[in-house]
Amino acid sequence: MGLLGHGLFQQDWPRAWRTTELKPQYDVVVIGAGVHGLATAYYLARNHGARQVAVLDKGYIGGGGSGRNTAIIRSNYLTPEGVRFYDRSVGLYRSLAAELNFNVMFAQRGHLTLAHNDSSLRTMRWRAEVNKLEGVQSEVISPADVKALVPQMDVSSGTRYPVLGALYHPPGGIIRHDAVNWGYARAADALGVEIHQNTEVLAISLDRGRVRGVNTSKGKVSAPVVVNCTAGWASLVAEMAGVSLPIVTHPLQAAVTEPVKMFLQAVVVSGSLHVYVSQTDRGELVFGASTDPYPSYSMRGSLEFTEELASHVLELMPGIAKLRVLRQWAGLCDITPDFSPIMGVTEVEGFLVDVGWGTYGFKAGPAAGESMAELVATGKTPELIAAFDLARFFEGRLVGERGAAAVGH
């Protein structure tokens, strides 16, 4: 009763966000009401006192990648700049429920990346060492340790993809993605940010190399700063401002099973088998895989995805063959050449990007929003995101996540 008691006095919640008319002018227009756009707007208002901020979305709040991802949170990246950035995000996620007064259900149940051959074991060691030096909990563990954490796992040596060990990252876990989106939207709205759903940006107006505003399906808006926080459509939105991006968009599919009683606490990832799986508090297994093999803007699910997924999952956990897949869906991922995001300024003054998030965008939302807000407010690129600028592709400074992030949920 004590637990339920917390809920007793919190009924009759007011509206989470207002519905307002689009104004002709804002200080900042954020395109995309996903976690990146909403967090950017929220931190602009909270940390920098911005009030005239509009978030525009062609659909509904959290309807894109932010509502379609598999909600895995972790910071065990390969490069020091990646680790530092995602660790900031994990830190913000940890206190987010209290800050937003909205339970985002962040469950740090531990995150395992399996190694099936000596070369991936070597990469795990590399990651663990970088992580530890950056102050992030991460270690290489033995097959027996894996078995202790995931009793359903087949760690015997005769399998096609033997489990030789794993990178274990205790702070990793899962979160309720919708709650994060709604929590940010609610809190941003309370600070005066306007969220305009069903408001599609059709054009970006420029004048002598700088941004003047946007044309939307609900009318024209002028703004000196426009931030592209879209995923799946980042190239198309950037093209409206005449900015070309090093991005190719691939669908990423996911699936969920019927619920069964809890048997899997940790998040399990296998890069070699292109699969990641976790079990929600409701008992469903949530699966994801690598992106589809050719670029597309289609979000239709494919049968071959579920087939491959199932065969790979059963390689790892043969005992769950009778569990049934309930639903599959797809989201769009903007993949960059170095599997790292693009955050910062562009050659068009006032047009900023927070794009190229591939398959790792949701876990980055808070840190990206906080950093982009700081960039908008101060005009200076924060150190935390300096390595992820657009210019790096033209200056030969790619970020070295290519080895580890390809399927690194």
Binding site: I61, G301, G319, K322, G396, R402
Partner: protein
């Protein structure tokens, strides 16, 4: 603590007299257990019909409030009849046929179905209302894991076995001209007409027998059904799949069909490339939203008719029927036939309505609009239909709301290779459905054969009163325990679009995936927001149409494995296997250190069959080599081999290997084992897309040859004993040359003199069929020389002693050629080669970090591969990429990357070990730790 009055009247026999269409075989009794008690039913019963015949009323507890739930639809989609059968969770018990000996248990109950502790939740339904979890358990944050564990305890669903063989699963491919999804009257007629027109037809029906709603119809319908079944059975070219479901329609009519309960497997997936897909799923009856609509004893008219007519089960003693159509009337008649007293037919078409169902644990009465209360134990509702447009949606169709018929109908915008017939299209008598089905089937056959026929009689949805919610609130989603009140409050809080409201309340997210729930959700939301249903949203269905087991999706697990022809020998010698990409290779035979010493002192042989091999022929091969490798190839003499490195266009090292010139226009290229396929494709790409006029032919030879490396001071001696037609003397066959000859009598073998291990060595490529023979002959011939096999580990140690890099271990996804220490190889004075511009830029800027040889100052410490190298300020400055204890040198040796500032020979760097300690290491003058001059391999 709320518990249920013990509703178990299992002594009460609810089985009625014989029904004309009954499926049960009363001569065959089957025993089973339900929650530990013994029951029996008949062959042909479902689990639930057998239990209902024995007087059982409720079969599950609901997800959030743990309310007792009874039969709602009495078919597969019944949200309240999901149980555990033996080790199989989430079995649809209103569909699954009874088998003798089944152990059936309720799920989501604790400790038992009748006495469920969590039913306490039911006392406080308002606290679990929409968004409950988001608004609670927020502070203190540190307690969330504890809250979470409590929530997990109440997770719905069955239990997976601790271990399970998983069953046998298989798959099948099919290529029907016409695939008909649904075996009701229209579907059967479509299949018949298509087959009569010469099409091959696959007819898929989710029930255990054809017929759809005809099965539980009146005499005329049963007669028609018998005719149709006979016609289907006699028609050539129709394959009927029963208890099977079309789970999804994907691009280009790639159709998934799930077969259930096969003799050897629980489920099987068929993948069909259908020329035409005919969608004929009929209609799904929609529940009504009102207070008490989830009480056991409230059921749909189709549920009552199925129970009565298919299983001869009496659903109750005293019934009230609420209807807006003639199907409700038919249900009332059926009930009357088996002796259920029908107290009242409440007909919405006369302006009548029900307000709420009364009861505690089960229905005990009904309150009508106007306040009349009737005591009854059964309330049947018949308020309209949902068209399951799933397969049409998946082919691009967007359903539209037909206000007159009060249901969504297909939007007629599906792909041309998808057609629809039957109830999903519109309403009609059984005969009208059949003639529509026949017309669509014939048109489908015509289209499948390239024609373009479309003529079909009109089938129009009939007007129907819009019945979604009574004046009271009730459940919209039974599996998720979402009420209409929850949807009202979601809308009020701003979650007022269909997508947001669904996500916020979780309505439609349960096991039925919205089949019963979506339209009511949209209708209630429309009401809450003052919009029309059409404005509020449509129904989008995602695959699969019904859940598919992971086992069926996976099929048999058969990831390919590649072995060399010498694998039987390796296995017989107890080689420790090493999985390397698709290959499984011997890592060592027990003592890799001894294997190293044997090679360094005597002679060893290693199976290097996985090495990629490409045969290149044609006058323009030198042009190709010059284009792809960073070094120069124009002057390679016949009989010579050369080492080369390929880069991608971004300058990153892609692959390496040696290529030899076997004849005037004939070359053999070797690649890394893992890169063999990619390099082949890379060559073909440049040849086909950029230089189609070059005369080069590429053939993949990797598995055509078994490859053996003979290494060590005695290797020439050993090989000489098996080779007579090639002069092996150092003068006649020097280092970095190639010869063709016979080995152990096997002609047409290639012999290269190269040395990855740093020893005098010969790599021989033998036609694969002779691989094991030559391998064994080498071992037999060299017994006195001390020849022994060595594995990959010994080879890796020796190559590291020699400082030879391994691409993708000592390089990574960003390592450009100069960083990899290849300045001696890269020829920027070539006019062009792949990756050249980027390497020019790198050369101008200077590489940021470099691959170097490293030796720990403490020779006994071997830093793990992946150990980081730090500056004095403890900033990461590189990493160890390869490390081993060298048996030859008696000390640890490494390769590693360090930033340019620390890369000069003699500088001492700090290596941070995984255990937290540091070790100092010296940067060596060259990559090679052993015999840097190469005297041994040139000998």
């Amino acid at each position: 603590m709320v518990t249920i009055a013990r509703a178990r009247n299992s002594t009460r026999d609810m089985r009625a007299g014989r029904r004309p269409g009954e499926l049960i075989d009363r001569a065959t009794s089957l025993g089973f257990t339900w929650n530990g008690r013994r029951y029996s039913g008949f062959q042909g019963d479902t689990i639930v019909s057998a239990l209902a015949a024995s007087g059982e009323k409720f079969f599950s507890r609901s997800f959030k409030y743990h309310r007792p739930r009874g039969i709602l639809t009495a078919n597969f989609h019944d949200p309240n009849c999901i149980v555990q059968v033996d080790d199989e969770p989430n079995v649809r018990a209103a569909h699954r046929r009874l088998r003798g000996g089944m152990t059936v248990k309720a799920q989501n109950v604790w400790p038992s179905l009748a006495w469920d502790i969590a039913a306490v939740n039911g006392a406080f339904p308002r606290f679990l209302s929409a968004g409950f979890y988001y608004k609670t358990f927020i502070k203190p944050q540190r307690l969330w894991p504890a809250y979470e564990r409590v929530l997990q305890h109440f997770a719905p669903g069955g239990r997976l076995p601790a271990s399970s063989a998983g069953g046998e699963y298989d798959k099948r491919y099919a290529h029907p001209d016409v695939l008909v999804a649904g075996g009701g009257p229209a579907g059967m007629a479509a299949a018949l007409a298509a087959a009569e027109a010469g099409a091959s037809v696959m007819l898929v029906e989710e029930e255990y027998e054809l017929g759809g709603h005809l099965r539980y119809g009146r005499a005329g319908e049963l007669a028609l059904l018998a005719d149709l079944r006979r016609a289907v059975a006699e028609q050539d070219g129709v394959e009927v799949l029963l208890n099977s479901v079309v789970t999804g329609r994907y691009d280009d009519n790639w159709v998934g069909v799930l077969q259930r309960e096969l003799p050897n497997a629980g489920e099987r997936l068929i993948k069909a490339r259908a020329k035409m897909l005919v969608v004929a799923p009929g209609l799904i009856e929609r529940p009504y939203v009102f207070e008490g609509n989830d009480l056991p004893g409230v059921m749909l008219s189709t549920a009552a008719r199925r129970l009565v007519n298919l299983y001869a089960v009496k659903p109750g003693q005293r019934a009230v029927v609420f209807t807006g159509n003639d199907d409700g009337i038919a249900a009332a008649e059926d009930l009357g036939d088996i002796g259920t007293e029908v107290l009242r037919v409440v007909d919405a078409r006369r302006g009548e309505g029900v307000r709420r169902a009364i009861g505690r644990g089960q229905v005990s009465g009904v309150e009508l609009d106007g306040g009349t209360e009737l005591a009854c134990d059964l309330l049947v509702t018949s308020v309209g239909w949902t068209a399951p447009t799933s397969l049409l949606n998946m082919s691009g169709d967007i359903p539209r709301y037909d206000e007159r018929a009060a249901r969504f109908v297909p939007g007629r915008s599906a792909q041309p290779n998808v057609m629809a017939t039957g109830g999903i299209v519109g309403d009609g008598s059984a005969d009208e459905l059949v003639s529509h089905g026949r017309a669509v089937g014939a048109a489908a056959a015509a289209r499948a054969h390239g024609g373009n026929e479309t003529g079909a009689p009109e089938l129009v949805p009939r007007p129907h009163p819009a019945l979604f919610r009574a004046s009271t609130h009730g459940f919209v989603d039974f599996s998720e325990d979402v009420s209409s009140k929850d949807i009202f409050s979601a809308a009020q809080e701003g979650y007022d679009s269909a997508e947001l409201a669904k996500r916020y309340t979780t309505a439609t997210m349960g096991p039925g995936q919205g089949k019963l729930e979506t339209v009511n959700t949209v209708a209630v939301l429309a009401e809450a927001t003052g919009r029309t249903i059409a404005e509020t949203g449509t129904t989008v269905w995602r695959p699969p149409y019904v859940p598919i087991s992971l086992g069926a999706l996976a099929g048999r697990l058969h990831a390919p494995v590649r072995y060399s022809p010498m694998q039987p020998w390796h296995e017989a010698r107890g080689a420790v296997p090493l999985v390397a990409g698709q290959w499984v290779r011997p890592e060592h035979y027990g003592d890799p250190g001894a294997e190293v010493r044997n090679v360094r002192e005597k002679v060893g042989i290693i199976d290097v069959t996985p090495l990629g091999k490409l045969d290149l022929r044609g006058p323009d091969v030198p042009k190709l080599l010059n284009l792809l490798y960073v070094n120069k190839w124009s002057k390679l003499e016949v009989g010579s081999v050369r080492y080369g490195v390929m880069c991608a266009e971004d300058g990153v090292v892609l692959d390496d290997g040696v290529t030899g010139r076997l004849g005037e226009d004939h070359y053999l290229m070797s690649t890394t084992s893992s890169g063999a396929g990619a390099v082949w494709e890379w060559l073909e790409n440049w040849l086909q897309c950029s230089y189609p006029d070059w005369l080069v032919h590429v053939t993949q030879m990797t598995t055509a040859y078994a490859s053996i490396n003979i290494a060590g001071p005695s290797s020439r001696h050993l090989l000489g004993r098996l080779v007579s037609d090639v002069d092996l003397s150092p003068e006649a066959f020097p280092y970095m040359h190639v010869r063709t000859g016979s080995v152990a009598g096997v002609p047409d073998c290639y012999m290269w003199r190269i040395g990855f291990t740093g020893e005098l060595s010969y790599e021989i490529h033998v036609p694969a069929g002779f691989g094991l023979y030559v391998w064994e002959r080498l071992l037999a011939a060299g017994g006195d020389l001390g020849v022994g096999a060595f594995g990959v580990e010994a080879q890796r140690i020796m190559r590291l002693e020699k400082g030879h890099m391994i691409v993708a271990q000592d390089t990574d996804g960003l390592t450009e050629a100069f960083s990899a220490g290849l300045e001696w190889l890269v020829k920027l004075d070539k006019p062009d080669f792949i990756g050249k511009p980027e390497l020019v830029f790198e050369h101008e800027k200077g590489p940021g970090s470099k691959l170097v040889g490293l030796q720990p100052v403490d020779p006994g410490v071997v830093p793990a591969e992946g150990s980081q190298i730090l500056t004095d300020d403890r900033v990461i400055a590189g990493r160890v990429t390869s490390s081993r204890m060298s048996p030859t040198l008696g000390r640890s040796v490494c390769l590693g990357f360090v930033i340019a500032e620390l890369a000069s020979p003699g500088s001492v760097v700090t290596v941070h070990l995984p255990d937290g300690n540091d070790v100092a290491a010296t940067v060596m003058p060259q990559l090679a730790h052993f015999d840097p001059e190469g005297a041994r391999l040139r000998g």
